[in-house]
Amino acid sequence: MLTEPTSSATRTIVLIDPKADSTSSLAGRLQMQGYTVSVAEDPADGARMALADPPAAVIADLWMPSISGVQLCRLLKAEPATEHTPVILRGPDTPRNRFWAERAGASAYVVKGRMGDLVRALRQAIAAAPVSEGFFTTFAGEDIRERIAAHLDAALFESVLSSELRALGTCGAFDRLFDMFSQFVSRVATYRWLAVSTREPSRLGLHASASGRLNAEAEARAALHLDASAFVVSVEDNDACDAPLGPPPIIRAIELGGIHIGDLALSLPDGDAFQDEGFVAVIAREIAGPIRMATLVEESQRLATIDALTGLMNRRAASAVLQKDLARAARYGQSLSLILLDVDHFKMINDRLGHRTGDVVLAALGKTLLQQARLSDTAARWGGEEFVVALTCTDAAGGVTFSERLRAAIEAMVVLDSDNEPVHVTASIGVATYIPGDSLDSLVDRADRAMYAAKSSGRNRVVTAAGPDSAPGITASGTSISADRSSFSEPAKQPVARH
């Protein structure tokens, strides 16, 4: 490879102008400036000349009969031999022409006849161009027009790929996005597996054949350096081919606005990998936006549904879920128990130990509830220091067993205040079991009254609401208390005696 370009190369211009008369005067002017000028009247010849011996710059007209200046420019930019060679297009003074010339990769667009502009543009473009390595390309018989058409086709293909991928931005969630994405890519390429990993949250989307799935996951994890914590979305079908290991997987970073948001990996069967590398670069580039969109949508849904401090569902989202749980219980004749939990002496904890400690208590409670609740249960923060758990397919006895376990778990929590002193946390729990005809409100109301009964009878205990088949409530010490609706007239908004 030549390290120093020869002096003639820095001063050689290829000038393409179908009109011979205007060309000669322009060529003369450029020669006076010290350039060596090679003239071509036919754009195809001019292109061939530039490719066979890359000059310092190419000057061409925008309007030429067979090949337009824009097509010529695009050709030269697409060819490795002339990709860094400045192309200056000359034409009429219209914004759209200037815009399109620039989009085609022209270094400058100069209005025809403005010699000064041209000379200046030439000097600037040549100075700004990277040093030429002298790489050339020659086509003995191939028509330049065919080459232009081939490049245009490639550019159009990339454009179609890009727009179809960007349209996936409407998928609201990652799993749906990955499903659509893998369907799309498998139509355009043949692969053993396709993987997309994201950071924050850590996820892995994997498309492989059913039989190749296990190997694919192992290979993908290794290639993308993923730990076991990544949440996996797996798509299995015959659109991924079952072939033995071929070349190492192609890996591309997925970046958006300079931020590395994930990686794309593709494992191809043995064969020609050359063509697919450019293709993988395009899909990695275009999938970034849709991934970010899906993440944002999921995040906003989560924020709308989850109480940040405790990690439990918030009341609004939980109400909707509980309505459904109730409807199911009613329709299928299943049992359902609802517990209402209120932290004991919470106001005092806040006043004496500070609101930060109060928050720590609530967060610990949230964690305990999540640990105790089963997958089929719904746990939610219902109010400031109030919590609700709906236990599906659970009768009164089951509700009580659960509640007692919960009560004990809460009492056993180790929570430290700001002085690292342990805080004794307990809760009063009311349990109500679904009776046909119950609405969510009536069920919660009964649990609420039971909870107040727990409060007023000493706290840190479980009390059941009375119903036709009510089971007795269990106190902290193991004896029973049952609260009949009629046994107390009006529940106080706040428990009366707090110490």
Partner: protein, 124 residues
């Protein structure tokens, strides 16, 4: 002439064709039938100044051979031309990145080949 031209191609016909064109103008031409042999000959013979090389060859393909050879500092001034039927821009780019000096799409024009080789060998 002190500079030698090496032609690397798995087709004996092609090697002969190129050899004839270049010996006619006075070059000393030697041949190799695949990239591996080509690379070996380059490492052993420092009078080789220009290599004309096919892309699709057994054992070691043209582009890998270029990369291999050009990564060695003693071959900094060695000019390698690809001569092949293929014209895909992606492949051409790979050859350029590997360190090739140019890409000629077959069939080649003898006069053009001679001119290029003369320029690269540093002759008139």
């Amino acid at each position: 002439m002190s500079s030698r031209i090496l032609v690397v191609d798995d087709s004996a016909t092609l090697r002969q064709e190129v050899s004839e064109v270049l010996t006619k103008v006075g070059f000393d031409v030697i041949e190799a039938e695949d990239g591996q042999i080509g690379a070996e000959m380059i490492s052993k013979d420092s009078t080789i100044s220009v290599v004309i090389c096919d892309v699709n060859m057994p054992r070691l393909n043209g582009i890998d051979m270029v990369r291999n050879v050009k990564s060695q500092p003693q071959n900094a001034n060695l000019s390698i031309l690809m001569l092949t039927t293929d014209g895909q821009p992606a492949l051409i780019k790979k050859a350029k990145e590997a360190g090739a000096k140019g890409w000629i799409v077959k069939p080649f024009k003898p006069a053009q080949l001679v001119a290029v080789v003369q320029k690269l060998a540093g002759v008139a």
